[in-house]
């Protein structure tokens, strides 16, 4: 089909009706004019009408010829081809369903992955002029050590808040808080942000205003901004809530604003409160992030220079030691967060691409098989003079119909997958909305079209290349050893097996990583332990006394619930990120105190018993440790090993602020999540435990700004019943304290391993898909070759040939091919799985067992897939075969 022809075709589709009307009008005009002339020449009216019509000739023939000029017959042929294609597919529903399903799965997977990539990497951020938005990044270099982070302190804020070329806003962490409504309270996500946050992001509030200078400083009037979602959910979209006072964190806050419906923050946030940034308290550590928007009239280079210069002041004020080279810079908004994600998404998308390739190979092989089954039909058509061009057009139409149906199935599957992914990825730092917008739809349509043309090509080439004679001879079930198309199909099997192996090996490595991590000794016994959390960033819990009273009263009540064996409270659980704390350590022999960085956890008596954390020396924290008793601390093995090597740790002291604490016990290490970016996914850090009774009010307030404490309960029985019991017990002590959520220690572990789990699931799913595609592909090839050679096999069996030999002949080539495919795939996998290196734990990329198992599994599965159709030969009745056609 030439381009001109195509244009005419399209035009005729669009204008067919008008063309016919025009033609009709034009010819009627002609005939009527002639009629008039004839009447003028003296003919009677009926006579004239008759003669005009006769002399004009065959009207419909003339019209048909005109249409032909306009390309209309092509349209008709197209429609005929489509009808024919549908009829053909209806006649072999198994084939059609297999192709559409295969294509649907492959396209669906790729649609979902592309939706993800589009949302995270391609689509502009949901803020006006996103290219003017930046994150402020600090880079620290000491010798060969390099660290970059978006974490900032109060000094950086102080140095940058008056910058001329950019507007800067500070933001803090997001954590759960209690929002009072009527007679109860709910647990909502709060983010603390400095003034200017909404202005910098560029989305004005729907109602009210953002925080002003007075509210955003320590001691200012308590204020809150509501998200549009929570405003609608809790306050039913009542605008008069602005200016009203609501109960938040146990005290009244004035609602100053409500965000716009379109506003989408990074992460899940229900309400915002003022950050009150300063260089004291949390501002003395790295607990903020800074975002910046370029002022109009300033160039990015100017802003970069100014931020860098102001950064120098910030580092001086912070007293960064001269051995560290520090630099402040601007990076495009989100670019920093995306760096790690980008690599992972690219790996996942290449895996998805591989699936698409396997799918194509499969479909091409199916089409070839079908092509050879239809070879007699095709050969007959060519022999009878049906032009090659029209044959090609018809086969292309069939491929397109299949492609479009598969694409539609893929779109539907992709939509479902995207829905499932949205919830799953939210936990891994992907906050953007996964939406199948125009680029996604376009890409999906393009891929389906391309793929269908690609696999549609195979039978066309086959049909055109083959002469009529061979076609008629080779067609049907009369052939002996498969002809040229057989060779091509075998190559496709080889490619398919090789690609499947690559995915299988990748999945194997990631699954082994997950298993390795899951089977690490966690250092405690998490079976039958249920945890509950509640926010104590609350005006009623500013004092340590109140907090400890809550802990002991609620624990007493919980212990009375049926099935409960033991209960305790701790700020942190294993697998979580713990509070970082600086302290000094003094051993008995050491005259100097060493500054150490540790993680800190406050616990009530019973914490170690509930979690069955082994005590290695000394004693655990118990009821004797009171506010007025001697200050004590427990350390974990890692801390004792790292900072008190060669000494008796039990005679050492920890100096925590103004308090000197005697180390009274050593407990086993727990798996924690690193606070800094360290090598392993779940590591143990030096840690100390302090009795909750001896925690100061100030320390409680600081810790509860970032973290909600956890109740840990060891109990037997149904999870829901235990959870209700805990809820009831806590509500009995404080009815206004909402319990945020109940989680088992397995849940905790799974969320700590979330990223590895996601990797293993995604790759495992893709590999399973690849495996089933390979299965279908191999089955198809063998089934087809058996069908084609039925007559030959039948004759051989009739003549006394061995059945076993015949079956072996059908199966052997495919098994050999799959061994070849496994070998090639193995070599490719050795090269390609290296990209996974950073995602593995406890297993090398070139792990021999993984390769061996994957290869053996693939060969075994292809052998079974080829044996099943071959065994049908055993049921063959030779006499029937010989009598066939």
């Amino acid at each position: 089909v030439t381009f001109d022809g195509f244009k005419a075709l399209v035009r005729s589709i669009l204008t067919r009706k008008r063309l016919d009307d025009d033609m009709e009008a034009e010819m009627r005009f002609h005939i009527q004019e002639y009629e008039r002339d004839l009447i003028c020449r003296g003919l009677s009216t009926p006579e004239a009408a008759k003669r005009a019509r006769i002399e004009f000739g065959n009207i419909s023939l003339a019209k048909e010829q005109c249409r032909e000029v306009k390309g209309v017959p092509m349209l008709d042929e197209f429609a005929r081809n489509i009808r024919y294609a549908f009829r053909q597919l209806r006649r072999s529903p198994g084939f059609a369903i297999t192709v559409i399903l295969t294509l649907g799965l492959c396209v669906g997977v790729n649609t979902a992955v592309f939706t993800l990539i589009n949302a995270v990497l391609l689509r502009p951020l949901p803020y006006p002029e996103p290219e003017r938005l930046f994150d402020v990044v600090r880079e620290m270099r000491r010798g060969s050590e390099f660290q970059a982070s978006t974490g900032q302190d109060g000094y950086a804020w102080q140095a940058l808040k008056n910058a001329r070329s950019v507007q800067v806003a500070a933001l803090g962490s997001t954590n759960g808080v209690n929002l009072g409504s009527a007679d109860r309270a709910i647990y909502v996500q709060q983010q603390r942000v400095g003034m200017g946050y909404f202005r910098v992001l560029g989305i004005p509030l729907a109602h009210g205003r953002e925080f002003d200078d007075a509210e955003d400083r320590s001691g200012g009037p308590p204020a809150v901004v509501l998200s549009n979602g929570i405003w609608k959910r809790i306050f039913h979209g009542d605008e008069s809530v602005v200016g009203r006072s609501i109960l938040l964190r146990g005290e009244p806050h004035v609602v100053v604003g409500i965000t716009a419906e379109v506003f989408r923050p990074r992460g899940l946030v229900d309400i915002w409160t003022p950050l009150m940034p300063s260089t004291k308290g949390e501002g003395s550590g790295i607990n903020y992030q800074l975002i910046a928007r370029l002022n109009s009239g300033a160039s990015p280079a100017q802003a970069q220079a100014e931020v860098q210069a102001r950064g120098v002041t910030a580092f001086e004020n912070r007293r960064i030691p001269p051995s560290i080279t520090a630099r402040m810079s601007l990076t495009p908004f989100e670019r920093f967060n995306q760096a790690a994600l980008r690599e992972r998404l690219l790996i996942i998308s290449s895996a998805a691409g591989l699936i698409l390739l396997i799918g194509c190979v499969n479909i091409a092989s199916l089409m070839l098989a079908r092509g050879s089954a239809r070879r007699r039909e095709i050969g007959t058509r060519i022999a009878l003079g049906g032009g090659t061009a029209s044959l090609v057009r018809q086969l292309t139409t069939e491929a397109l119909v299949l492609g479009m149906a598969g694409g539609a199935a893929g779109l539907a599957l992709g939509y479902l997958a995207t829905q499932a992914l949205q919830a799953a990825v939210a936990r891994y730092g992907i906050w953007q909305e996964l939406r199948m917008d125009r680029p996604v739809l376009l890409a999906t349509a393009l891929v389906s079209l391309l793929v269908s043309l690609l696999f549609g090509l195979a039978p066309i080439v086959q049909a055109v290349r083959m002469g009529v004679r061979e076609t008629l001879l080779e067609g049907g079930s009369r052939s002996v050893v498969g002809g040229r198309s057989g060779r091509l199909r075998r190559m496709l099997v080889l490619a398919e097996v090789a690609m499947s192996l690559m995915l299988l090996v990748g999945a194997g490595l990631l699954i082994r990583t997950l298993l390795n991590l899951q089977h690490l000794d966690p250092g405690f016994d998490g079976k039958n332990v249920l945890t509950a959390t509640a926010s104590l960033q609350d005006a009623r819990y500013r004092e340590g006394e109140n907090i400890n009273r809550l802990f002991s009263a609620s624990l007493d009540a919980i212990k009375k619930e049926p099935g409960v064996e033991a209960a305790a409270v701790g700020l942190h659980l294993p697998y979580q990120r713990w509070l970082n704390s600086g302290a000094k350590i003094r051993g008995r022999s050491a005259t100097v105190e060493n500054d150490v960085g540790t993680s800190m956890n406050y616990v009530t008596p019973g914490y170690f018993e509930v979690l069955r954390i082994p005590l290695l020396a000394g004693r655990v924290i118990d009821e004797r440790d009171r506010k007025d008793s001697m200050p004590v601390a427990l350390v974990n093995e890692a801390l004792a090993h790292k900072f008190l090597k060669g000494e008796d740790p039990l005679s050492g002291f920890i100096i925590d602020g103004d308090t000197t604490r005697q180390i009274v016990g050593i407990v086993g290490d727990l798996q924690q999540q690193p606070g800094l970016n360290r090598s392993g996914p779940i590591v143990t850090e030096p840690a100390m435990y302090i009795p909750a009774a001896q925690f100061s009010s100030k320390a409680f307030q600081m810790a509860h700004t970032w973290y909600s404490p956890n109740w840990v309960v060891r109990a037997s029985g149904r999870r829901e019943a235990i959870a209700r019991g805990i809820e009831r017990a806590i509500a009995g002590v404080d009815p206004l304290l909402p319990v945020a959520e109940f989680r088992s220690m397995i849940d905790e572990r799974d969320s700590a391993l979330g990223s590895q789990r996601l990797n293993a699931w995604l790759f495992g799913g893709l590999a399973a898909l690849a495996l089933s595609l390979a299965l279908v592909g191999v089955y198809g090839v063998v089934a087809n070759s058996v069908a084609e050679r039925t007559r030959e096999f039948g004759i051989r069996i009739a003549l006394g040939g061995s059945l076993r030999r015949v079956i072996w002949e059908a199966v052997a080539p495919v098994v050999l091919l799959s061994i070849g495919g496994v070998t090639i795939g193995g070599l490719l996998a050795v090269l390609s799985v290296r990209v996974l290196k950073g995602m593995l734990y406890g297993v090398q990329p070139a792990d021999p067992p993984t390769f061996l198992i994957a290869g053996a599994a693939l060969i075994a599965i292809t052998a079974v897939a080829s044996l099943v159709p071959a065994l049908s030969l055993a049921r063959l009745a030779p006499a029937d075969v010989l009598r066939q056609d």
Binding site: A25, E26, M27, F29, H30, A62, K63, Q65, V69
Partner: protein, 113 residues
């Protein structure tokens, strides 16, 4: 009387081009014009005029526009395009050459025998 089918292929196209070169005409008008200037020596099968018109239009040699006929009826008028003019000139030259040549040959033959 000769019908057009008896003439050389492509002749109808040439006649149509010539007819519309003298001004825009509707289909029936073209028919009349050809009959008139050929002094009724050439008869066109009326219906076959239209496929020729569509073909010429598709080739860009003529263009059409709906207008009003001399007796106030809606009709489609055809007009020669620039490339149509060029083609007409070329065809005319070739035709003249061809017919002269054939004429010479036909006239010469009896004298030689």
């Amino acid at each position: 009387v000769n019908t057009l089918a008896d003439l050389l292929p492509g002749t109808l196209d040439l006649l149509v081009l010539k007819a519309v070169s003298l001004g825009a005409l509707h289909g029936y008008g073209i028919l009349l014009r050809i009959q008139q200037i050929s002094q009724r020596l050439l008869q066109i099968e009326q219906g076959s005029l239209y496929p020729a018109l569509y073909r010429l239009e598709h080739a860009g040699l003529i263009e059409s526009e709906w207008g009003v006929s001399e007796n106030n009826r809606r009709a489609k008028f055809y007009r020669l395009t620039r490339s149509g003019q060029t083609r007409l000139r070329k065809e005319m030259q070739q035709w003249t050459l061809f017919s002269e040549a054939v004429g010479h040959v036909l006239r010469a033959l009896p004298e030689e025998t």
